[in-house]
């Protein structure tokens, strides 16, 4: 570990003992002056520019037992999403539609802040945000989840587990949900005499002649896909894709979700000391548009990689 001394230079901040101190200790004890020094040079402690997001990777199908799954990593933040389909009877008001249930978990492995008996405060918040965005974006046409109108339809249980929490949790979670839906394949299904619906695996289909309700395994056709971006705002600086440390130190954060058709799906700025003027909002929207193009390319690449296999 380096033992460089941080001497008093331009940028204000603490005086006295801070003038002679190791970098790591300065970072822990005086986080705000530490970041101010970096922001003045338009750079962040991990050498990123202010409007650069971390390396993002998507891998489809890590969970073999699920009908659709995806592992997404944004920098160190890792999310594992898996979808399991079960058959249910649709409601009377909507006999042609299936439904989606979203649950977001932050198990204790992901962060030192989460302990058994003291669950993470943000987990239910992100869970609700995800459900709202997936529903309002209309990405999944619920009519595609129908089996037999009025009698049977699919309920998709989407479970997202945070494996490593290092900032931008909602971004990674939404991206993993989107990737899992892209990977989802609806299994073949048949009906017994009593009217009970059950899934038929591909080996069974060849051996016995079940009367199949749907003729082939199919994927969902997703319309406008939502892509998120979280930015933190500190005075007049906008930092894109914050790490966990940046999220705690900075004044406020704002999350924007755009879809591929160019519509604004969701804006989320949950209070905070910093105020977002119209210019800042417009800047954030521009950054989100750029990020959306990046993410779209990454998602398409991962889908084609999987299809080659």
């Amino acid at each position: 570990m380096e033992t460089t001394q941080m001497t008093e230079g331009g940028g204000g901040g603490a005086t006295g003992i801070a003038a002679q101190m190791e970098v790591e200790a300065f970072r822990r004890l005086f986080p705000l002056p530490f970041y101010k020094r970096h922001l003045l040079e338009s750079v962040r402690p991990d050498a990123r520019a202010l409007d650069y997001a971390r390396d993002t990777t998507i891998s489809l199908g890590p969970v073999a037992s699920a009908d659709g799954s995806a592992l997404v990593k944004i920098g160190e933040t890792a999310m594992l999403a898996a979808i399991k389909l079960e058959v249910m009877t649709p409601s009377k008001e909507r006999p042609d539609e299936g439904s989606i249930v979203v649950e977001f978990y932050m198990p204790p492995i992901c962060s030192p802040m989460v302990r058994p008996g003291r669950p993470a405060e943000v987990a239910p918040v992100i869970s609700k945000q995800l459900l709202d965005v997936i529903r309002s974006s209309g990405m999944v046409n619920l009519k595609e989840l129908c089996l037999i109108s009025g009698k049977a339809s699919w309920i998709a249980y989407l479970d997202i587990y945070c494996l490593n929490a290092d900032g931008s949790l909602f971004d990674a979670a939404l991206l993993s949900a989107v990737a899992a839906f892209t990977h989802l394949q609806i299994p073949l299904v048949s009906v017994t005499e009593e009217g009970r619906v059950f899934t038929v695996s591909s080996e069974q289909e060849e051996k016995t002649k079940f009367e199949l309700v749907n003729k082939e395994k199919r994927k969902l056709s997703l319309s406008s896909i939502p892509f998120p971006l979280t930015c933190v705002i500190h005075e007049d600086y906008i930092l894109v894709d914050p790490t966990a440390e940046e999220e705690t130190v900075m004044e406020t954060s704002i999350t924007l979700v755009l879809d591929t058709l160019g519509n604004l799906v969701s804006i989320y700025k949950p209070g905070g000391v910093g105020l977002a003027s119209t210019e800042i909002m417009k800047e954030c929207i521009t950054r989100t548009k750029r990020r959306m193009q990046e993410l779209k390319t990454i998602l398409e690449e991962s889908v084609s990689v999987m299809e080659v296999d």
Binding site: L80, Y105, I109, C110, P112
Partner: protein
């Protein structure tokens, strides 16, 4: 059902009776944790994360001032098993396995060196295909080593069973739910001492000895693999440090 094919002598997944599933381990998967590891035994995939030694959170739980407090929590992901409907933690099986893993690791951690502190071991099962208990213990050993927590020895664990009059090593889920006996053993590798031993269903005594010996052989093979992984990891760290 034929768990061991009488003609070829192979099991339903193509293994020989004394063959273990494919092992794969990775250290340092969770950057926020002090130590972490991903351990795979065939299709069973488990992540362990260790936080500690850190300050005791619940002073009421601290038994004495001379030793570190070891806590463990085992939980399964909703999608880890075939059917989804399950309560991931807090149900009896998870609580029992948490206790078992905690006591197994307590046997090897030198708790007296870290008084008044707490070591948390969290294990998350991502995919379950039999032998989750053993995979968790192996992952926890690697995670503790990654966290630099002083240990007496490495603990490894493996299971073995007895079906169709053959002792079988490392049962998967189908073989485990066949109703035959299931012996899980955890040993301190170099000291050659058994710290965990669990068995259910009936077995005559001499058959039990054969099955237990087989499980111990499996544990030693896993210990060999774990040592290789730790050596590789140390070489990488040395490389990064530039020495």
């Amino acid at each position: 059902m034929e768990y061991v094919n009488p003609l070829t002598g192979l099991r339903i997944d193509g293994r020989r009776p004394t063959e273990m599933r494919h092992l794969k381990a990775q250290i340092g998967v969770v950057s926020k944790a002090d130590g972490s590891a991903l351990f795979e035994m065939g299709n069973t995939r488990v992540i362990a994360a260790v936080y500690g030694p850190r300050e005791v959170q619940n002073k009421g739980q601290q038994m004495n001032n001379t030793e570190a407090l070891v806590r463990c929590e085992y939980s399964m992901a909703n999608f880890s098993t075939g059917d989804r409907a399950r309560k991931p933690k807090g149900d009896r099986r998870s609580t029992e396995i948490s206790l078992v893993i905690r006591q197994t690791m307590e046997a090897c951690i030198l708790t007296k060196l870290m008084p008044r502190s707490q070591i948390d071991i969290f294990v998350q099962v991502l995919q379950a295909d039999g032998g989750t208990r053993s995979a968790c213990i192996n992952a926890a050993t690697l995670a503790l080593a990654d966290a630099g927590i002083p240990m007496r020895d490495i603990v490894t664990s493996c299971s073995a069973g007895y079906l169709c009059t053959m002792p079988l090593l490392d049962l998967n889920y189908a073989e485990d739910s066949a109703g035959g006996p299931d012996v899980t053993v955890g040993i301190l590798a170099k000291m050659d001492k058994v710290t965990l031993l669990q068995m259910d269903a009936k077995l005559p005594l001499d058959t039990f000895e054969t099955v237990m010996q087989l499980a111990i052989e499996g544990c030693k093979a896993i210990a060999q693999y774990i040592r290789e992984i730790m050596l590789q990891n140390t070489k990488q760290l040395e490389c990064r440090r530039g020495s």
